[in-house]
């Protein structure tokens, strides 16, 4: 069985196919460029493994932070109405459109040694800039809006009817949040988390500006690829393919998360 919908104009396939080719061709090009005989050794070198592990670890932590802070942010944005809310929403979502390098600079002037909070932290013996913590903060900064946007949409679509019903049955706000609100937005939460993880994994600009590029400490996979491009293009291509595979897996997961909504 197949549904027949209203027909599309035939010419629309031309730009559609061109657009798809534009996205897919570079992927084909990179796969074609891979040096398959040395692929194994290229992606298992010490530098590669360090970068890969660091990327996974920091992306996982920043995704966790996005959940911890993004869920409450999305709830306030979706469920409350007060003057200035629209402005706050725009500002909170700013990292979506901000060049990551600018984000990195902003973070540096906040947490850097002579930054807004950094000088106080420095006095307390805490240094953030150019550490693994800085990598996590940079990733969280750019990924948080993805979580907030995704969840806020899910919360608004779901509406508040079930929460009202739960409250009328005597459930306190915390019980309503734990037993009704959260379970009902799990699909939105999953796709938000997957997007945040993907964005963290690909983070480059803010990381190199705010965290630098120290092997095993702040040099994540994208940084390693950029570096290797100069010295060992084959290694760069191999690592790039690894990132592509991870990204494809992540998109597949996100699609599933959406499918169950």
């Amino acid at each position: 069985m197949s549904d027949r919908t209203v027909g599309l104009p035939r010419w629309i396939y031309v730009p559609a196919v061109l657009g798809a080719a534009f996205v897919l061709l570079p992927l084909v090009a990179i796969v074609a460029k891979v040096d398959w005989t040395h692929f194994g050794s290229l992606i298992t070198s010490q530098a590669s493994r360090d970068a890969f592990v660091l990327s996974l670890k920091t992306s996982a932590i920043s995704t966790g932070l996005c959940v911890v802070f993004g869920v409450p942010m999305a709830l306030v944005l979706a469920r409350r109405d007060f003057p200035g809310l629209a402005v706050i929403r725009s500002l909170v979502l700013l990292p979506l459109v901000l060049p990551p390098v600018v984000g990195g600079l902003a973070l540096l002037y906040t947490f850097g040694r002579r930054g807004l909070l950094g000088s106080t932290l420095d006095a307390a013996g805490i240094q953030i800039a150019f550490t693994t913590i800085a990598v996590v903060l940079a990733q969280t900064f750019v990924a948080l809006p993805f979580m907030v946007v995704s969840l806020e949409g899910a919360l608004r679509t779901g509406g508040q009817r079930y929460e009202v019903a739960a409250a009328s049955l005597g459930a306190r706000p915390t019980t309503v949040f734990r037993r009704i609100t959260l379970p009902l937005v799990v699909p939105g939460l999953i796709s938000g988390a997957v997007l945040a993880f993907a964005r963290s994994l690909g983070e480059f600009g803010a990381t190199i500006t705010f965290a630098g590029s120290l092997q095993g400490r702040t040099r994540t996979l994208p940084l390693e690829i950029y570096l290797q491009r100069e010295t060992d293009p084959d290694a760069a291509v191999a690592l790039a393919l690894v990132l592509v595979v991870v990204a494809v897996l992540v998109i597949g997961l996100a699609g599933q998360g959406r499918g169950t909504r």
């Binding site: 009817r161 079930y162 009202v164 019903a165 739960a166 409250a167 009328s168 049955l169 005597g170 459930a171 306190r172 706000p173 019980t175 309503v176 037993r179 009704i180 379970p183 009902l184």
Partner: protein
């Protein structure tokens, strides 16, 4: 007095006051936009009125106004369970867990909450569906689970907002019977636009129009002898009290009515009410005979034009005839005519 309600909401032009005694069911009747749902939302704590005071069992739930110190108990702390048109069962929980939600929220242990939930599911006749997800229930079954869920929360006041409006007509009589059973002895506010629900489920009724109470009293009296044209039009039903005599109704003034019994057949001698629409009544100048028809010899008391129809009133009874038919019959006030209605058009309810 169990519930004392008075509230004013200026921008909706609503100014309503009523009281509900402990164990009493009050029906709130009125057209869309008359303030019915506003009154429920205020009672449930979802809306704070500009002025007003809501007291349940001596406990002030809402006290609003410029001079008074404001009290607004949170919705979850009011013990007022709300059940609307849609069952709104939590989709990620089984029927049993849905019903157990109220007791669990009040701190009852899981196993005990499940026992309570199963008992309420049995009570409303869906005990065998406990393990089902809401998506696996029909509309009528889901609404029964929702009734069980509201009752399991052990509310001091049950708020019902047109609980049967969204249901298939075929499941209404059975659900109405269940509601009658479980609502007895409970304090309930039932918002409805169906006069039959008001008659069968409620002890008293208040009628709202444009944000004001225009009529109130014992359900049967208000609906059978409406003082406002609104109730007369809204009710739009002929309602005749009587006693069930095994296969027919004997009315207080001696008429014999046959009809379709709603639900299980009542025992002989029980009080019942026969209901039929004015549009199913035919008017004749001469007495008519024929077994499937009920006929009443009446004297026309009033003729009321309604768009392209003429409503012929004769005391408690009303018939709708077309203007053409009215002209043919040369109807006029004071005239003796016969009202006739088929037995299949008459519904008989237990009072």
């Amino acid at each position: 007095m169990s519930l004392q309600f008075s509230a004013r909401v200026d921008h909706r032009d609503v100014d309503i006051a009523f009281e509900v005694a402990t164990g009493e069911t009050l029906a709130v009747l009125g057209p869309n936009g008359s303030g019915k749902s506003t009154a429920l939302a205020i009672t449930a704590g979802l809306l704070i009125p500009d002025r007003g005071k809501i007291v349940l069992d001596g406990r002030v739930l809402t006290d609003a106004g410029p001079a008074t110190s404001r009290v607004a108990v949170a919705p979850h702390a009011r013990r007022t369970a709300l059940l609307g048109q849609e069952p709104l069962l939590f989709p990620h929980l089984s029927a049993l867990e849905n019903v157990a939600f109220g007791p669990r929220s009040h701190g009852t242990r899981r196993s005990e909450a499940r026992r309570i939930a199963q008992r309420w599911l049995d009570e409303v006749g869906v005990g065998d569906l406990a393990a089902r997800r809401p998506s696996q229930l029909s509309g009528g079954q889901a609404q029964r689970v929702a009734v069980a869920r509201a009752l399991a929360a052990d509310p001091g006041l049950l708020l019902l907002d047109e609980p049967m409006a969204a249901l298939d007509i075929a499941v209404l009589p059975a659900l109405r019977h269940t509601l009658r059973r479980v609502l007895a002895d409970r304090t309930v506010v039932l918002v409805t636009h169906d006069p039959l629900d008001a008659l069968l489920l409620a002890d008293r009724v208040v009628v709202l129009e444009a944000g004001r109470v225009i009529e109130s009293g014992i359900s049967g009296e208000v609906l059978k002898r409406p003082r406002s044209t609104f109730v007369a039009r809204l009710a739009g039903l002929n309602l005749l009290d009587g006693t069930w005599r095994g296969d027919h109704v004997e009315t207080s003034r001696g008429d014999r009515i046959t009809g379709m019994v709603d639900g299980d057949a009542p025992a002989s001698g029980t009080p019942v009410v026969a209901a039929f629409r004015p549009s199913s009544v035919s008017v004749f100048r001469e007495p008519v005979h024929g077994s499937p028809r009920n006929s009443f010899q009446v004297r026309i008391s009033e003729l009321e034009p309604h768009a392209d129809l003429l409503r012929v009133r004769a005391g408690d009874l009303a018939a709708d005839v077309t203007l053409v038919a009215a002209a043919d019959l040369e109807l006029e006030t004071g005239q003796r005519v016969t009202f006739s209605v088929k037995a299949t058009e008459v519904a008989i309810y237990l009072l």
